[in-house]
């Protein structure tokens, strides 16, 4: 059984399809149809809802926007699900709704409930910026244009909501209006109470949270179950017991098998409630990211120690995806166009892998063996990812190139890192996504950099090797030629940025990326 709050109503669910999404549940079982389906693949945000979860601070909830179309009902245990129907109080619109009305933020209205929910989450997190803690909390816009920091904050919050009608300007204005003066609301008033209710659910001594398909008999191999273990030990035991089980973290990859290919997912083991996997540990030497830590949760820590990684991650999916998705899921999914594997390769990261047989540590180098194939043993889970912090004196860049700036899959992702002393390259890492069947570190090109001067001439041999050894594909996102050209040109960009940084004598430098151009 799982227990959660649907708005302020408690729900106990035991028998339901384990691979039912929240969107399907709301629209067909609860028959609440304010939440829309625009794609069922996480790309449009029409289905955006907000989850509230207890934070470590007593009485305080954390509000996060999610795509309900790719989130399973089973993951709701101990959470509050807030839907668009619940925002207004009687006839009184919620501030976010009011702002959308006043700014003419809706035309056809189909995207609007999703935008309102993203705005609602933004208003709840207006003091907590996902990536840049320095970002301003918003000057009163009044008659001022939305300032760049605030625009950035709003773009991050709403980048996963597509609108085909408005062109977004009025929605941007509505967001700025809300941020200028966030009003306390009924959710604030009930926050402590809800916090307690959710804590009670979470701490109740009960059998492991989970769901059982009403249509299928409970017996191994034919049963359809959703399990939500609380410890790593429970989790690995389940994996041993159910060889057909699939791990699910954010579900932002896995759920698409169900919603797009219509494959049933019979036994799901959710990592999100496993305490050990929710840890984030930062020491002088390493950063250890628990296997169930979402991108959003790791963002501010990453920003401290690996800002280039953090700023790329602002463009990994959209906020709804980052609120759910995990790095472990990205690595386990082993897509050649996943954004974090090349960076992890360049950083010489390690994977902590647990199974019924015990724990082992696998280097990311060598983990990817073929198209979506890895050395992860059967019945094992990535419990954490360990990133050594031994490259602080390296010049490090992570570049993502895609058709659209926001919420797009990379044509090429490049992690380029080198250590320079006295103008000579002493060591280097070059790793790419989108250029082969796996995320790829190009050792030969790294070797060609070592000992060379940090100049355009010095990188040309490495560029030749990239050109000769990489074998990208032509697909819907880019041609092989473009990808090949990008790998070389991005190395040029990195070099130019390095030179600019090295030569910087305080005089204003010329922008080299469109993102940096004011």
């Amino acid at each position: 059984m799982i227990r959660f709050l649907l708005n302020d109503q408690p729900r106990d669910i035991e028998y339901i399809a384990p691979d039912l999404t929240i969107l399907e549940y709301l629209r067909t079982i609860e028959v609440q149809r304010g939440t829309k389906e625009g794609c069922a693949s996480g790309d449009c945000g029409a289905c955006t809802l907000v989850l509230a979860e207890p934070s470590e601070e007593p009485g305080k909830l954390l509000y996060r926007s999610i795509n309900s179309c790719i989130t399973f009902v089973g993951s709701l245990h101990g959470k509050q699900l807030i839907t668009v129907e619940h925002l207004q109080q009687g006839q009184q619109l919620h501030q976010t709704q009011q702002a959308m009305v006043e700014c003419h933020g809706s035309q056809c209205g189909f995207c609007t409930p999703g935008f309102v929910m993203s705005l609602f989450a933004l208003s709840k997190n207006s003091g907590v910026c996902e990536f840049d803690p320095q970002a301003s909390n918003g000057e009163a816009p009044g008659n001022q244009p939305v300032n760049p920091e605030q625009r950035h904050q709003i773009n991050l919050a709403l980048g996963g909501n597509l609108c085909r009608c408005t062109g977004y300007r009025p929605i941007m204005d509505a967001a700025a209006q809300v941020l200028a003066d966030v009003q306390p609301d009924q959710f604030d008033a009930r926050q402590a109470e809800v916090w307690q209710q959710l804590m009670d659910i979470r701490t109740a001594q009960a059998p492991m949270a989970g769901l059982t398909d009403p249509g299928c008999p409970v017996k191994p191999l034919t049963e359809r179950r959703f399990f939500s273990p609380q410890t790593l030990a429970e989790l690995v035991e389940l994996l041993a017991r159910y060889p057909q089980a699939r791990l699910v973290a954010g579900g932002t990859d896995l759920a698409l098998e169900r919603t797009q290919q219509l494959k049933p997912l019979d036994v799901l083991v959710y990592t999100g409630a496993v305490a050990e996997m929710q840890q984030l540990t930062l020491t002088d030497e390493t950063l250890i990211i628990g296997g169930a830590v979402s991108y959003s949760r790791m963002a501010s820590t990453l920003q401290l120690v690996l800002p280039e990684f953090a700023s790329m991650m602002e463009r990994l999916g959209a906020l709804q995806v980052r609120n759910q998705g995990t790095m472990a899921g990205n690595v386990a999914n082993a897509s050649p166009i996943g954004d974090t594997p090349p960076v992890l390769l360049a950083l010489d990261a390690l994977l902590h892998v647990d199974s019924a047989e015990g724990q082992q540590t696998l280097p990311v180098n060598g983990f990817f063996t073929g198209y979506r194939q890895t050395t992860l043993p059967k019945g094992a889970v990535i419990s954490a990812i360990e990133i050594p912090l031994n490259k602080s004196d390296w010049f490090r860049r992570v570049y993502k190139v895609s058709k659209r700036l926001e919420d797009d899959i990379s044509a090429v992702l490049a992690a380029i890192m080198f250590k320079v002393e006295n103008g000579l390259i002493l060591d280097a890492r070059l790793a790419f996504g989108g250029v082969a069947a796996t995320p790829l570190r190009v050792v030969a090109a790294e070797q060609a950099l070592i000992g060379q001067p940090a100049t355009l001439a010095g990188i040309s041999a490495a560029q030749q090797i990239l050109k000769q050894t990489l074998t990208p594909l032509t697909d819907v996102r880019a041609s092989a030629e473009y990808r090949l050209q990008l790998t070389q040109n991005l190395l040029t960009r990195a070099l130019l940025e390095f030179q600019q940084q090295a030569n910087s004598d305080g005089s204003a430098s010329v922008a080299l990326e469109v993102g940096h151009y004011a």
Partner: protein, 812 residues
């Protein structure tokens, strides 16, 4: 210029200005002044509250009747061939399946082509495109139906698909005959011109990506008829086609359409198939059936904006003025005519955009291909036609070494006052009321074009990698359906005894604010508050035989029809009151929900209505409107296809990364002509939304077809429409101060489509940035969509050419 207070956080940079002359009396209707009343006010969308609370119901949100079924479509996995085996037994045996139909089960018509035949509702023999509908299944849940559809066993004899439009024209595989418009003697003018330029251009198509996919819910009625709830821009056509496939008279079929979650042309002709399939299943099973296309099916199975292959040969004089233009536009129509005849015509009608061509030959071809049948999309071919002449403007500028803006100004149509000899279009309509010279001048100043041009040249000289580009492009867009009989509309107004009013008209609400504007028009005409009026769902049993809501004409046509109905009612009330109070009708005024008849006496509108009811006055009226003046003789390719032209211009600035081809649009300034605005907030929404949609078309939205004819960009993960960060940080929109010289409703102008084409300025600015690499001597090829990949390709081509010619390029 009067500034309109828009609620919300509008900034000085984003301020909206509106042209309104408050004392003017529109169309000479006495007593209908605009000093007070709802017309001209930025009222919110009539459904705004429902939108933000989730209360607005779309077809998929209606509670299905108990026992209702859900349908899914079995579609062809190949683009061209013959079906050799279609075994649907596994589908029938799948859990939850109640009914499976093929074309053999259709009693009535099997061809649902909207204008010309060619669109079989399903096929069990020949396959002409990837995604073609083969069969349809109804089951007890959506998932069950979709899973069952996967179980079909299909075998084909495959054939090589035809995908290339130029190839199709070369081998004369056309869905409709070609058409040519001529003016003057092109060949001799070309021969005697100072210089002749030539170029080819591929313009990509566009997926509509309405957020709400295609959906219909069909419910059998007691008399063997059908009630259909559908998301369609053309309920009357859905009614007709449903009746035809069911072999019923039209009066047995009712279509109800409250709102669409976006249409953009994609639900003009191509919503009908899903309604027909749902109706067939409903008729067969006797149960309600809902058919909603999941996003991927929708993207695969419905037509897009036509990709075009264009070319020109243009003669110019020394100054860069066009003396002759030989233009060819080829629409890739897909496998059937659908609306392509009119779409390619409209591309031809706009291949001149705002420019006088002197001598012209404009040829338009309708190429067949083994693709889904391409269809209406905002601008209806107009944007694709304009692209070729806007390309030519930039090319001419590079050829003669002038600023492209000066070339554009030099080539504009003349006005009646100056250069009336330069006002004839290639289809022999005279351009009247051409305010573009003035409008462009105003925008050039307000956008600071010249100073920015200088600053950008300087920047580009000093910036090794990033290059900025700037462009101003105009739009002149013809308003009216080019199919004359569609230019008519009807409306129905009921006034109830409490003074509340229901309005119904033939137009459909897809987010464009049509119902809001029609409500404002009726409220204005009757002198009542907007809140008193409810505009109800479009229904074929209320207003029959309607035209599609398309061609930007929704307000022009339905607004007028509704106004006419309101005038009838008003006239009845005036006559009643004049007799009651023995005053002259001229003395009676309707304002703000009160009615006065001279002196200090007045009464509320509700009191008057109640009295009129008791006095046995009919409080329900229809209204009708047809557009005057228009005609087109297609045989001779001359006439006046357009009642008037909507005008506008935009300045866009971009910054381009010459290492990756990535770019950003940093600033956009728009001045657009909506005549007298009925609702400036809604008009601004259309302008901004149209612009961004147009920008998406020309930049990131790439349709990719595999060589075997499959559409690869078949979901939003692979097809990228603009997101919020693509909206330029500086986005200044102003309305041009001028009311429509033609007698449209309150002298407003249509606004749905024209702003879409303002986005051509973004594409032109990208070319400008790339051209800077050659010190503005080369005019780069840049097919669309101009993805970062295409931009980088153009950058490298210019760099290579510069290196070859020993020119100084700006690259590292």
């Amino acid at each position: 210029m009067r500034k309109v207070e828009l609620q919300g956080a509008s900034s000085p940079e984003n301020e909206l200005t509106l042209a309104t002359n408050p004392s003017a009396i529109p169309n000479g209707i006495a007593g209908l002044d605009l000093v007070s009343g709802p017309v001209g006010k930025p009222s919110r969308h009539e459904s705004a509250i429902q939108h933000v609370t989730g209360a607005a119901r779309y077809v998929d949100d209606l509670i299905e009747p108990a026992n209702g079924l859900f349908a899914a479509v079995i579609r062809s996995p190949i683009a061209r061939g013959t079906i050799t085996r279609m075994d649907l037994e596994p589908v029938r045996k799948s859990p939850g399946v109640v009914c499976v139909l093929t074309v053999d089960d259709v009693l009535g018509h099997t061809d649902i082509g909207p204008v010309f035949p060619g669109d079989p509702i399903m096929t069990s023999t020949e396959v002409k495109f990837f995604g073609q509908c083969l069969a349809v299944v109804a089951a007890t849940s959506e998932l069950a139906a979709r899973r069952a559809a996967q179980a079909a066993i299909l075998e084909f004899e495959r054939e090589e698909p035809l995908l290339d439009a130029r190839e199709a024209v070369a081998s004369q595989q056309l869905v409709r005959p070609s058409h040519v418009m001529t003016m003057g003697d092109v060949d001799s003018a070309l021969a005697s011109s100072h210089q002749v330029l030539e170029a080819m251009q591929e313009v990509g198509g566009q997926e509509h990506f309405y957020l709400e996919g295609q959906v219909s819910l069909a419910m059998p009625t007691e008399d063997g008829g059908m009630l259909v709830y559908t998301s369609s821009q053309h309920p009357s056509e859905v009614q007709k086609l449903v009746a035809e496939v069911l072999a019923l008279p039209l009066n047995r079929v009712t279509v109800d359409m409250r709102r669409m979650g976006g249409g953009f042309g994609g639900k003009e002709s191509q919503a009908a198939q899903w309604a027909c399939l749902a109706a067939l299943l409903a008729s067969k099973t006797g149960r309600a059936v809902k058919l909603r296309l999941p996003r991927q099916d929708d993207m695969i199975m419905t037509g897009k904006r036509h990709p075009f292959a264009n070319s020109y040969r243009i003669g110019i004089d020394e100054a860069g003025r066009i003396t002759a233009a030989d233009i060819e536009v080829i629409g890739n129509c897909g496998n059937s005519p659908d609306l392509s005849d009119a779409i390619v015509d409209r591309a031809m009608f706009h291949a001149d955009n705002a420019y006088f061509l002197g001598n012209a030959r404009i040829a338009g071809h309708r190429a067949f291909s083994n693709q889904v049948s391409h269809t209406a999309y905002r601008g209806f071919g107009g944007p694709q036609g304009m692209m070729i002449i806007e390309r030519a403007m930039d090319d001419i500028a590079r050829a003669v070494g002038k600023d492209p803006l000066d070339i554009r100004k030099l080539n504009l149509y003349g006005t009646e006052q100056s250069e009336p000899e330069r006002t004839l279009t290639p289809y022999h309509q005279t351009v009247e009321f051409n305010y573009l010279p003035q409008l462009i001048e105003q925008l050039e100043t307000s956008s600071d074009y010249r100073a920015r041009r200088v600053a950008i040249r300087q920047f580009n000289q000093h910036s090794p990698i990033l290059k900025r580009g700037l462009a101003l492009t105009p739009v002149k867009f013809g308003i009216s359906f080019t199919l004359q009989h569609l230019n008519q509309a009807g409306a129905l107004i009921h006034i109830y005894t409490d003074g509340s009013i229901q309005v119904n008209h033939g137009g459909t609400e897809m987010g464009q604010g049509l119902h809001t504007k029609v409500g404002q028009i009726v409220a204005q005409t009757l002198g009542v508050e907007l809140e008193r009026i409810v505009v109800t769902a479009t229904r074929t049993d209320k207003v029959p035989n309607t035209s599609p809501t398309a061609a930007s004409s929704g307000t022009d046509l339905n607004g007028k029809a509704a106004q006419n109905a309101a005038l009838t009612l008003r006239q009845r009330l005036v006559e009643f009151l004049a007799a009651e109070k023995t005053v002259s009708p001229e003395a009676i005024r309707f304002e703000n929900g009160r009615v006065s008849w001279g002196g200090s006496e007045d009464m509320s509108f509700a009191e008057l209505v109640q009295a009129a009811y008791v006095g046995r006055v009919s409080l329900s009226a229809t209204g009708y409107y047809r557009t005057p003046k228009i005609w087109y003789d297609r045989t001779n390719a001359r006439g006046r296809p357009f009642f008037y032209f909507a005008l506008g211009a935009a300045v866009s600035e971009v910054v381009v990364d010459t290492l990756t081809g990535e770019y950003r649009v940093t600033r956009v300034d728009i001045l657009h002509d909506v005549g007298r605005s009925i609702n400036p907030a809604i008009d601004r929404g259309q302008i901004e939304g149209g612009f961004i949609q147009g920008m998406g078309w020309l930049t990131t939205e790439e349709l990719v077809w595999h060589a075997d004819g499959r559409l690869l960009s078949n979901n939003p993960a692979t097809y990228k429409i603009p997101a919020i960060g693509d909206t330029p940080p500086v986005f200044n929109v102003a309305l041009f101060e001028h009311e429509n010289d033609e007698a449209t409703v309150y002298n407003s102008k249509a606004v749905g489509e024209p702003p879409f084409m303002l986005a051509i300025s973004v594409w032109s600015a990208l070319r400008d940035a790339i051209s800077s690499l050659s010190d503005y001597r080369l005019s780069p090829d840049l097919d669309t969509p101009a993805t970062p990949e295409r931009v980088l390709k153009a950058v490298m081509a210019v760099q290579a050419q510069c290196a070859q010619n020993g020119m100084t390029g700006g690259a590292v």
